[in-house]
Amino acid sequence: MRILISCVLLVILSLGLVFALEQAPFGSNQIDNADKPGRFYLNQGMEKTGAANVVTSVVVTYRGFDTLGEVTILFIAAIGLGAVFHSRKKVKRYEKEKQSASLILQTGCRFLFPLIVLFGTYVFIHGHLSPGGGFQGGVIIASAFLLLFLGCEEKKIPMKSMNTVESLAGIIFVGIGLAGLYWGESFLENFLPRGMDYMLLSGGVIPIIYIAIGFKVGAELAGIVAGLIERNP
């Protein structure tokens, strides 16, 4: 009965969605209009910000406030996880059966950990030139920590310094925004010179913000992973 009702509901919803979407004039013909934001970003984004990756310039400057909110949401998830788990009793069930990882896994993890961190750093430093950016690089770094949790259990993650990094990166993001308000005209304005095209030092504040985001996301996701693992970090 439950299944029948939900099927009927969903069929109605999907038919409605598909019919409505079919008739809507989507995509190409809309963006051709020059006063549309998308076209403006494509035509002028590169000259204004100096970032070769237009998506990055949209994410960090034009829609930078969204990105601030997005970083905040990850921060909320990390704190919320800590708050929800705070009153939890320590789980003892798995302790006695726990065995350390095999030599192959440990060696592999030790070998791969710096390489993955290096790759993550590459991704977020080159966010304004190539596909990638702070979030993607941060996630890659967090995956390195996940590997460390899985492979080398004896290595403790310094959660206190992680929290410091997270907090400092957040403050730097907000601080750059306020600096834009002070030296420029609006919050999160790109007040630094745009630099040489296609070089690492281009795009004004974009690389700085992306480095801050990379550190913040990496620390937060590592904290989330540490929280979700049964063992108390």
């Binding site: 969605l17 921060f75 708050a83 705070h86």
Partner: protein, 488 residues
């Protein structure tokens, strides 16, 4: 330009919370108070100037149709003032009330919740509205489960699942609107929307209203509310009932009035609001658990506010906004007061509160004042709100509205019945067992009494608020004016 600080100050303090913890663990509780005082002062300073003309705050260095911008109009700044007022009271209360769990995390989440609410009422960009709405929602999911007890976690799971389906639907709506118009600026969408007639538009409207309606708890999307509001810590219940629902209503109103502005839909939403009112009040009447009763009463009040707003005349919207203010103040007082009543008596059932009024006179007096204000007795602010709603509804002299107002009166009678039952329990029943009552700390009684003073003062002199309400209603209803102010 200053309006951006309303969002940035709480956000920055929340980011800095771990650093302050290294200095001292005790600082965490003071940060929300500091942020809210700052916000309150800023809002009050901004309000007179934005009354004259709306300020557009550019973000990221691009003018409105291209970048994100904040709209510091009378409605946005007024609501942010309300948020910081209630937020200040609740944060002072929480300073003494929250004694267990990770307190620094509580205060950080609380700050983020308030900054999300402030951002949502100020922003002028559809996707940015979604982002701040999500900040509000996600921090409230975490806060509902803050104590980690059975009911809290369970209701947080329910809230999370319903809320995230809702936000998914909002995102689909935004995708459709972006696909059709190639912009996310609410004013620009509003310009283009009049020229297009397409079923996709109707779909987008339904999706957006449904999505934001989950937070606003409009029937039939209110299943999460009684559980979440009754299982959360009382300070969080107060902020959820007082602020979070209001942001949902604001978002629904913004979508309905400013973006779409289609008069055909108002009647359906009005009927939905009426259904919400009736269902909320009737369910509240049948509750024995006092926090659940208050939560259902919130559902009913939301219905009333939605009803008033969907009359869609300046008077109606203004009355709805006054009722919104009244409900935010009264329900905050009720939840805050009941928090200590429940903590002292050790149970949430009404019968355990028999005769508690003689033991805890201050808190109970405040609860009674707030309850009377919600029922709509003079000289409290609730009376002014309900009176204006009735006047606005009867202004058109249509039989339809006369019948509807009859139903509203019926709901008010039900509401009065259970609130008087509460008053009777508090004062006129003998306590079954004697409990040692400790004194309520000043950190609780001062904010409660301050809010009570507001309830009474605004009830006696509602004229103070009326010009603000008028321009806020114009801000919401005057689509052409909004577009002109944003796009120049």
């Amino acid at each position: 330009m200053v309006a951006v600080l309303l969002i940035i100050v709480p956000l920055g303090l929340a980011f800095a919370m771990p650093l302050f913890n290294f200095v001292s663990k005790r600082i965490a509780a003071y940060l929300p108070i500091a942020a809210m005082v700052c916000n309150l002062i800023l809002s009050i300073l901004l309000l007179p100037s934005v009354m004259e003309n709306t300020r557009i705050v550019i973000l990221g260095g691009l003018p409105p149709p291209l970048g994100i911008h904040l709209v510091a109009g009378p409605l946005g700044v007024g609501l942010s003032g309300l948020i910081s007022l209630v937020g200040l009271a609740v944060s002072i209360y929480a300073w003494g009330y929250i004694k267990q769990g990770a307190q620094d995390k509580y205060h950080a989440l609380y700050l983020l919740l308030l900054s999300g609410a402030t951002g949502a009422v100020l922003t002028g960009d559809l996707f940015n509205l979604f982002v701040f709405y999500e900040i509000l929602c996600i921090s409230s999911y975490a806060l509902v489960a803050y104590l980690g007890d059975r009911n809290g976690v369970e209701s947080a799971v329910k809230y999370l699942i319903q809320g995230s389906v809702g936000s998914g639907l909002i995102l689909v709506g935004i995708a459709i609107l972006y696909g059709m118009f190639g912009t996310l600026n609410m004013a620009q969408i509003a310009i283009h929307i009049d020229n297009v007639d397409s079923p996709a538009l109707f779909l987008a409207l339904v999706l957006l209203v449904t999505g934001f309606g989950v937070e606003a708890a409009i029937f039939p999307l209110n299943a999460w509310l009684p559980d979440a509001h009754s299982s959360a810590p009382s300070s969080i219940s107060a902020i959820l009932s007082g602020i979070a629902i209001k942001v949902g209503i604001y978002a629904v109103a913004r979508v309905l009035f400013t973006i779409f502005g289609v008069a055909v839909v108002f009647q359906y939403v009005l009927l939905l609001g009426l259904a919400t009112l009736l269902i909320g009040e009737i369910c509240a009447f049948s509750q024995d658990n006092i926090k659940r009763m208050l939560a259902y009463s919130s559902v009913g009040q939301v219905g009333l506010i939605v009803f008033a707003m969907c009359i869609a005349t300046p008077d109606g919207v203004g009355a709805g906004l006054l009722q919104l203010v009244s409900h935010a103040l009264s329900k905050a007082v009720l939840f805050l007061g009941v928090g200590y009543l429940v903590a002292r008596s050790g149970s949430m059932s009404l019968s355990s509160l028999n005769g508690i009024g003689k033991r805890m006179p201050v808190v109970c007096f405040a609860c009674v004042v707030a309850a009377f204000s919600l029922v709509g007795l003079p000289p409290f602010v609730g009376f002014a709100g309900k009176f204006l709603i009735v006047r606005a509804a009867l202004a058109g002299k249509s039989i339809f509205f006369t019948v509807l107002i009859g139903i509203v009166f019926l709901a008010t009678v039900v509401e009065g019945a259970y609130f008087f039952r509460m008053v009777q329990t508090l004062y006129f029943k003998d306590a079954k067992r004697q409990i040692e009552y400790k004194k309520v700390p000043a950190s609780a009684s001062i904010p409660i009494m301050a809010l009570v003073v507001f309830i009474v003062a605004l009830g006696v002199y509602p004229d103070v608020l009326l010009p603000y309400l008028k321009s806020a209603a114009a801000d919401l209803l005057n689509k052409a004016g909004y577009i002109k102010e944003v796009l120049g």
